[in-house]
Symmetry: C3
Subunit: 155 residues, 3 copies
Amino acid sequence: MSGRIEARLAELGLNVPTAPVPAANYIPWVRTGNLVYIAGQVPMKDGKFLWVGKVGRDYTVEEAKEAARFVGLNVLSQLKTALDGDLDRVVRAVKLNGFVNCVEGFGHQPHVINGASELMIEVFGDAGRHARSAVGVAGLPFGVAVEIDGVFEVA
Amino acid sequence: MSGRIEARLAELGLNVPTAPVPAANYIPWVRTGNLVYIAGQVPMKDGKFLWVGKVGRDYTVEEAKEAARFVGLNVLSQLKTALDGDLDRVVRAVKLNGFVNCVEGFGHQPHVINGASELMIEVFGDAGRHARSAVGVAGLPFGVAVEIDGVFEVA
Amino acid sequence: MSGRIEARLAELGLNVPTAPVPAANYIPWVRTGNLVYIAGQVPMKDGKFLWVGKVGRDYTVEEAKEAARFVGLNVLSQLKTALDGDLDRVVRAVKLNGFVNCVEGFGHQPHVINGASELMIEVFGDAGRHARSAVGVAGLPFGVAVEIDGVFEVA
């Protein structure tokens, strides 16, 4: 708990939340070999959904970027659980997939998902740099604005 | 063919269909190391597409969940082919990605994709528990209601 | 540079472009073990976005297929960079994910993404055959018509 990454999180003033329970019949992460697959995370806190609505109508790009950063913290919370609480065992972020619940024709998915991508780099440094896809979708679970899943290499 | 998982399928009264032929210029699965990647499966049976339409307009959540379960059987059929017919070689389900062809603002993707997720758990037990993403999309191949791809760890 | 795949590209009259710089805060590829994850590529050339618009409204299926082929070349350009310029180190294409920015109800995603899939097979032969998903989305970065990411096994 008192590792390098925890110190970095404290330095950033970031609090990795308690890992949210999945909203349906799946599990939040699976490890296979040296990869951890994180299930799609949403802006859920204490069982409540935040940022419910469409980006480009209910939320600005900047607001949605905040949502993506929050979702990124939930990604980290699941990853932490997968690593028995020790984020120092993260070798690198490999891939993030970002889904933005947006109005037709919206094209600022990259700016939105940067909220999560920048978080990974702040926390892990160069090891946080990852490949990524960002797309705009017609709907997301419970109407949330952003969903992000990912793959991490771990020790 | 007479393995543990086949016995479980018989017990459940489930029939893994003959693996459908891809609808375009790709192959239905690729093995790399101990991972099998399954291409996006759709509700196709005997060359015909079932559940063609939008969830939230043409299909209820429960109907779409049935579609997802059917698509899950097609995922299993491809996996079975990848393993020379021996589903006992599945170490675990790693990740499912569920795409729901839905009306704008639809938010019940988790309930829909549970159709496939519950199937995996029924068939493989704890080894069927997987990470997952579920999103709502503007359109799917041939207008089908659900598409699901996945990654499995195999022996 | 003068390898087997480069010879094949020359034979096909294909020019793998200089790898485009990501449009946001991520990196274009990550290698983990024997897998290279390619970030979502778009039809970008010399810093400009091509094929900006909706398939089914602004572009026909055939035009969008050309866009997908172009995006496939950008996938190859990133892969080439990941392999220090030596595409002969590609063991096989594993998975492509194709996102088509389309009008509601559009169902020809498979035909569109074939543009990239056929390119992989032309270039790598049987090793280019891959698993695939193709879905239709509400919006893509900068309004482009097609985005494709992928996973490759490399030596």
